[in-house]
Symmetry: C2
Subunit: 303 residues, 2 copies
Amino acid sequence: MSVVVNTDRAATIIDGKSIAEDIRLHIAEEVHQMKSTVGHVPGLAVVLVGDRRDSESYVRYKTKGCEEVGIKSLLAKLPGNCTENEVMDSVARYNEDPSVHGILVQLPLPKHMDEERILSVVSLEKDVDGFHPLNVGNLALRSRKPLFVPCAAKACIELLLQSGIELMGKHVTVIGRSKVVGLPTSLLLQRHHATVSVIHAFTTNPEEITRESDIVISAAGVANLVRGSWLKKGAIVIDVGTNPVEDSTSDYGYRLTGDVCFEEAVKVASAITPVPGGVGPVTIAMLLANTLDSAKRVYGLSD
Amino acid sequence: MSVVVNTDRAATIIDGKSIAEDIRLHIAEEVHQMKSTVGHVPGLAVVLVGDRRDSESYVRYKTKGCEEVGIKSLLAKLPGNCTENEVMDSVARYNEDPSVHGILVQLPLPKHMDEERILSVVSLEKDVDGFHPLNVGNLALRSRKPLFVPCAAKACIELLLQSGIELMGKHVTVIGRSKVVGLPTSLLLQRHHATVSVIHAFTTNPEEITRESDIVISAAGVANLVRGSWLKKGAIVIDVGTNPVEDSTSDYGYRLTGDVCFEEAVKVASAITPVPGGVGPVTIAMLLANTLDSAKRVYGLSD
């Protein structure tokens, strides 16, 4: 293969697809081994409420990911006008089902539902999304160990570590503070002894803070928020954003783009994840890894 | 009283003693009212293991604080060579005792004991220190509400708010990341929509980060760590440190000093808490407030 080496100004593109592929191969091996040792495979159950097209496609990716590594996948699909109790019943049934080791309630739920109330029903031992407050507390307390760490946070760290990037002592700015990405990522980074700044919509000088950071992880959900001028020369950029933007040249009329203005950032950063093909596939791989870990705990195969 | 007004270079000294006094008066009123309404007062139980002089004096302050506001205080004093199970038995008895609304295990415990294991026994409803992982998780998740927030973290925020300092959008650097102060303070600040950076022993450029912060909260436990040169002109400084330093002029041979080099900081900052007389008394007031809140929940008097 011939590689065109650009000037020293082009960042390394961190290949999330290939990293995810390696992780999946490893998981597939372990699932195979589990099946021959204990006669069971891990099972992941997804509860999907309503018919949001983005949620449906995320669930499709997750189901496909399961199939590829031999994890059994189950799906409860409920109409958008069902009741909170019906959703909680679905979760409760999966809690009881011994063939299910991970339960995932696809977010966002319809607006009339109390998300926290529904998520509280997910058994702590099957909380592969890591959103249970006890898992979050155990993630925050460095002397404890959570059963599960949220998948996108794990994916960000995995991308950095697999790229040979040292975290200890590095100044990392996390943009966004959602429970799905920003919060757990900032907590996980601190377990790796990074210096962490969390910025968000109320931050008055975001670009000033990012410009002094060795690593920028953006999970704001705002297309092209992070410009080249926001970055220190040689910074490492992890882009968790997947924002739909209009694109008449695409078959769907839109395409997905990250939080980071890639064309600008690639000239300043030393390494950057693309969107798509960066954090996304590794996040799904981490969901499979969490499900595998859960099954290993149940069958006494944990390290 | 005549007041000598200095040049514009002297910071306002935030008077923790006086703020604590106001809080205690308010608590005393509520305790009095509780007694007349339901015939009970709040109760705080302290478990003290060993004979560390600093721990003994902290416990004395807490007990004295209880007496002043009419909260019943109980003390279980165990020898340093007792077993983990004996400590857990003490906690368990207080869990069962309906006259106890708050339980506090004085830290640090002797080195041979598993602190996390012992703290796990404290009933979630009596965890006035706020160290239970579920309380920490509910503090971290902004859509949830913890039953208790750790006292020192609450004290830092209270000192800022009572001094009329707006937190939303401010850049706050927290020095230290212990579960007792740094971690919960950083989480609580984020609930107030501050932009938070957490720095610690692995941070390579601490002074660079503090120098860009509007507010610096230091809980590192290192005397005179924060020099005047670490601060932006006009910054606000909350000093949680209480470090013993040798002092031959003192009756005890030592005196307590903060993390911040006060003489230097007072010339740069716009407001600063002294040590002693800053965070300390307000932290104890917050312990009393947490105990009162717990009793109010039990007797159905919560807002």
